[in-house]
């Protein structure tokens, strides 16, 4: 030691000191979280051995694209760890000679899997999972299983994981025993393998069949980094493949090695069933692990605190202010005869504040030594204000940083800063100009502003920062640097598409007491108020630089794709897309989008619609792609406004999307304080000509939906339920569920059920799909609000088809509410 310490901390003092710092609630092991183990995948693209699953799960939110091939069967799978205990997969398989029986053609098969963790692995018990393979599809690969996996390590040899499971369907061909469920109900004997047009949940087949079979294997994570060896027993006899094709199987065993070349890429090679070789490539990504680990964003400019004016003690009722944050032991007692009474109460949240009433004989000297005694004997006290018998203040002693901050807030909030600046027009104009410049330096825009002597209302346009709280924080810092000291309240309203969406109210004195301190973000969120933004008469508040009409344009590359066409499962174009807009007045605009195919093969699609639905509202998409180049995909007049604090409205007319033109109206009710909202949209549309210019076809219709939006607050899960009339005149509903991440990632799926029967809908039975949104700031080392959004539909058919509207209201507001700001508030001070 360099010196003898002044204070020899005993347990009590140590505990008190740690409690004072808030350290006591932090476990001593608080550490950087370990990278979770990422188990290997199987040829089906789900976590598993080679051709069978394990009970392991990928790290939360992990996404994987896998191509697995053996014996003429190619399985392309996208798999998502949707929740920590729920793995979901979509597969597109190309299966040679597995087409309709007897004709030897290739089967292009779409299927969905789901695996649910039943029990997490423990010290002495295995992980257990229940899975449904191909539960939504044609059922070619359908099977259900219960599987257990346990890991152990052997010195110098590495780690092993052993798996054993029991399954039905594809898992029951070999070594089967009688399905015990047939003793429950005889109907369990029957398992129908003919599922018609596919696309249905085959719940009626689950756990059925005469037999069930066993599978299992071992995985060896060798001492060579990234190298894994596997051996498994698979009960799948590939009966259909052997019946329709020339697949052969000698033994029910598979073995192989896998190598994880990088964190994101995994390759495997296998010897399968004694007759075939197999290979697998998997590429993974995780929203929690940004691809770019750089952060080229400049730091925020500092918050500039106001000077504390002299004589504030008289104003604030605190008396002289003294700081005694020393950690030293008390040298007096609360039984001191000068002390008449002590009243402890909480202020400003959880700050414990003691009012100590002194006797008349105590005099006006600040008895600082008593403050320590009060703290020691009455529990943790942050501030003591000593008062005379008539309650007039003598002094206030801050004993902890929290108390110091509380005193600062109380004093500054009650200070009478001069407000004469407000009466001078030129000074107010200079303030607005200075603020606009400060915001520009932060890549933000001042849309509008209202200034009062003690408050400022700022309307903010944020085209840079993904997390709105980061924009709010930088705006608050800019306000601290530019607004006169008397401006105590900052009201900041983000403006999205000229709509004021929410208002965040911040107290300047609170910000001054929180900035740069530990836990600053959570403290700021606790002290901020978030409310609906009121409709605004923009004429009165627009900033000088916000002038109308204003123009915007954008040119960017696009790669539209067409998947799952049996003639060619993947086609794509490279196209240039140009967008432009003129906003005549706040909310009133005209917008256009045109795309031009530079190269690609989307115009080679020859497959024509075989739809049985009377109106071909979507299945003629190939005609539009063939004939529409360039394609005028949008030319609209739009108006958006707020009808009340929490009701938004939109009207659009013109060429709404590639295939439809018409009139669209929408109303949305979404208070900022609640996690759900309601919307209503009605459209009258006419089908456009295939050349995607100004021609029209004969079909017109009224379509529209009532919508319920709900952010569950559970793992970022958000739902949307739409009910109404679809483009083909069919009535029904769409259920969508997605997981949203703070950084903008979205992963989810949807399903639509309408009055069109499954057999009339055609292959797939009903409309469904997956959506994926990747934010640019996950890929690139700077902040951005741009994102790559894609919807993956197994089939494009006519039932359950909905109009595409590019400026729907809910996306504008869904992150601008209390829940949305809470999720990303950690970025407020970044």
């Amino acid at each position: 030691m360099v010196a003898t310490p002044v204070v020899n901390w005993g347990k009590g003092l140590l505990g008190t000191a740690l409690a004072a710092l808030g350290l006591s609630f932090i476990p001593a092991t608080a550490e950087e979280p370990r990278e979770p183990e990422r188990p290997t995948l199987n040829l089906f693209g789900v976590t598993g051995l080679i051709d069978t699953p394990t009970a392991d799960m990928q790290p939360d939110a992990n996404l994987t694209a896998t191509a697995g091939y053996f014996g003429g069967y190619l399985r392309n799978t996208i798999s998502a760890q949707f929740l920590p205990g729920l793995e979901a997969s979509f597969r597109y398989s190309v299966l040679n000679e597995l087409g309709p029986p007897g004709n030897g053609t290739t089967l292009f098969d779409r299927s969905f899997d789901v695996k649910i963790r039943v029990l997490e692995e423990g010290q002495s018990w295995p992980a257990i999972a229940l899975g449904l393979q191909d539960f939504l599809g044609t059922g070619v690969y359908s099977g259900e299983y219960i599987v257990a996996t346990k890991g152990f390590e052997v010195d110098e040899l590495g780690a092993f994981r052993v798996t054993g499971g029991v399954g039905w369907g594809r898992f029951s061909d070999g070594n089967g025993v009688e399905n015990p469920l047939v003793n429950v109900a005889d109907g369990f004997r029957n398992r129908d393998v003919n599922v018609g047009v596919g696309g249905n949940v085959t719940a009626g087949q689950f756990f059925r069949g005469e037999n069930m079979g066993f599978f299992g294997g071992i995985e060896w994570q060798t001492p060579v980094d990234g190298l894994t060896a596997k051996l498994e027993y698979s009960p799948d006899r590939y009966l259909r493949e052997r019946e329709f094709g020339d697949f052969e199987q000698d033994v029910p065993l598979n073995a192989g090695i896998e190598y994880r070349a990088t964190d994101n890429v995994e390759i495997g090679a296998y010897y399968m069933y004694g007759t075939e070789f197999g290979v697998r490539v998997s590429i993974s990504a995780n929203p929690f692990r940004p691809l770019s680990d750089l952060d080229l964003e400049a730091g925020p400019k500092p918050l500039t605190p106001r000077a504390t004016p002299a004589g504030l003690g008289d104003i604030s009722g605190l008396g002289d202010i003294i700081s005694m944050i020393t950690g030293e032991a008390p040298r007096a007692s609360i039984s001191d005869p000068r002390l008449q009474d002590v009243i402890v109460h909480e202020r400003l949240g959880d700050v414990r504040w003691a009012d100590a009433i002194m006797t008349a004989r105590a005099g006006d000297r600040c008895p600082t030594e008593l403050a320590k005694a009060i703290d020691a004997e009455l529990g943790v006290i942050d501030v003591v204000t000593f008062q005379r018998p008539d309650n007039s203040p003598i002094c206030s002693v801050a004993l902890r940083p929290a108390g110091e901050h509380a005193v600062r807030i109380t004093s500054r909030a009650s200070s009478a800063y001069p407000t004469d600046w407000y009466n001078r027009d030129d000074e107010r104009a200079a303030l607005v100009k200075a603020l606009a410049e400060e915001l520009t330096s932060e890549n933000l825009s001042l849309y509008g502003i209202e200034i009062a002597p003690d408050r400022v209302q700022v309307y903010l346009e944020n085209n840079r920062y993904r997390a709105m709280p980061r924009a709010l924080g930088r705006t608050a810092r800019a306000l601290s640097r530019t607004m006169p000291p008397s401006v105590e309240t900052f009201e900041i309203t983000p403006v999205e598409g000229s709509l004021p969406v929410a208002t965040v109210i911040l107290k300047r004195s609170e910000l001054e007491a929180q900035v740069e301190r530990p836990d600053a973000a959570s403290k700021t969120f606790a002290s901020a108020a978030i409310k609906d933004a009121a409709p605004v008469s923009w004429d009165a508040v627009l900033a000088p630089d916000t002038t109308f009409p204003r123009y915007s344009w954008n040119i960017f590359p696009a790669t539209p794709v067409n998947l799952f066409d049996p003639d060619q499962p993947a086609r794509f174009d490279i196209a240039a897309v140009a967008t432009g807009g003129i906003e005549f007045l706040p909310g009133l605009s005209t917008n256009a989008e045109i795309s031009y195919r530079i190269i690609g093969d989307l115009d080679d699609i020859e497959r024509t619609s075989d739809s049985l639905v009377e109106e071909r509202v979507r299945s003629d998409i190939a005609e539009y792609l063939n004939q529409g180049n360039p394609a005028l995909t949008r030319l609209t007049f739009d108006y958006v406004t707020k009808l009340s604090d929490s009701i938004y409205a939109r009207a659009s007319t013109g060429l709404l999307e590639r295939m439809y033109a018409g009139v669209s109206g929408e109303v949305l009710w979404k208070p900022a304080s609640q996690s759900w909202g309601l919307g209503l949209e009605v459209n009258y549309v006419r089908q456009r000509g295939f050349n995607t210019l100004f021609d029209f076809r004969d079909y017109d219709t009224v379509t529209g939906h009532a919508s319920l939006y709900w952010d569950t607050g559970f793992y970022g899960l958000a739902t949307q339920i739409d009910a109404g009339r679809y483009l083909a005149g069919d009535w029904g509903g769409t259920f969508a569920l997605k997981r949203r991440f703070e950084n903008g990632w979205e992963v989810g799926g949807f399903a639509t059920f309408t009055t069109i029967p499954f057999n009339e809908f055609g292959e797939g039975s009903f409309d469904k799909g997956l959506f994926l949104t990747i934010p640019f700031n996950w890929v690139l080392p700077y902040d951005s609000r741009q994102e790559l959004e894609t919807v993956l539909r197994p089939l494009t058919r006519d039932g359950g088809a909905r109009l595409v509207v590019k400026n729907r209201l809910y996306p504008l507001v869904e992150d601008n509410d209390q829940g949305g700001y809470r999720a990303s508030w950690k970025e407020f001070w970044e």
């Binding site: 030691m1 360099v2 350290l23 770019s292 740069e516 690139l780 790559l788």
Partner: protein
């Protein structure tokens, strides 16, 4: 790395756009494409920027503000001045808005670096925060380092207990001025990590003239040298 570069290139191609706004994607992507894909500048300005000459003490004395020099590993010293004093938390920042927040001699935050330290929660009697004669330094202290990585990565905190090793006298030169100090090593550890901070301390006042401090598990230590103390400004 090939995969990562490929993905960055893919991202650059997919996400590049010309726009009417002020944040041209290409301008922002240019240095990334150059560094990640080509390993250096290709879009003009191929000449590396000259290393700036380090100022002399006389020149630094003309700066009318408190000044510190910060550096990471072998990087040239950056001389920065405090832009704000928030209750003893001093914000030092350069023209590119990279900087540090210091409380006393302790770095409590960094800004504009690859990974940033958000804040440090410390004991009341942390001698690095509140200068005191070396004879009055405590046996040990606790610190809680808070990190916000952004971009979707999860935030985390690291709590450590720190103790001080016997100091040794050492003369340090900071831009032509020599100070007699005691070199004190602070050893901070928890169950999974250990790191060391080194302070060159005036033994009587406890003022820290120079320090080399840990600022996070993914950053190299940062060296801070006091050119002109804040209180003397």
């Amino acid at each position: 790395m090939i995969v990562r570069s490929g993905l960055v290139l893919l991202g650059a191609l997919l996400f590049s756009a010309c726009t009417s706004g002020e944040n041209s994607s290409f301008e922002r992507l240019k240095p990334i494409i150059e560094d990640e894909i080509f390993g250096g500048p290709i879009f003009g300005d191929p000449e590396p920027a000259p290393v700036p000459r380090e100022p002399t003490r006389v020149e630094l004395n003309e700066v009318p503000f408190a000044t510190i020099a910060v550096s990471i590993e072998d990087s040239p010293r950056a001389f920065v001045v405090p832009l704000a004093d928030n209750g003893g938390y001093l914000t030092y920042q350069d023209a590119l808005r990279r900087g540090v927040i210091m409380r006393g001699g302790l770095i409590t935050a960094t800004q504009g670096l690859t990974y940033n330290l958000s804040a440090v929660k410390h004991d009341l009697d942390d001698p690095i925060v509140g200068p005191r004669a070396l004879a009055n330094w405590p046996d040990s202290i606790y610190r809680n380092y808070q990190f916000a990585l952004g971009g979707g990565a999860r935030d985390f905190q690291i709590t450590v207990a720190c103790r001080y090793e016997q100091g040794t006298p050492e003369r340090v030169e900071i831009i032509e001025l020599v100070f007699d100090t005691i070199r004190v090593v602070e050893i901070c550890r928890n169950t999974v990590r250990e790191f060391r901070n080194t302070y060159w301390v005036d033994p009587n006042s406890g003022f820290i003239w120079k320090s080399e401090q840990w600022i996070g598990p993914r950053q190299q230590p940062m060296t801070v040298e006091i050119i002109r103390p804040y209180a003397a400004s």
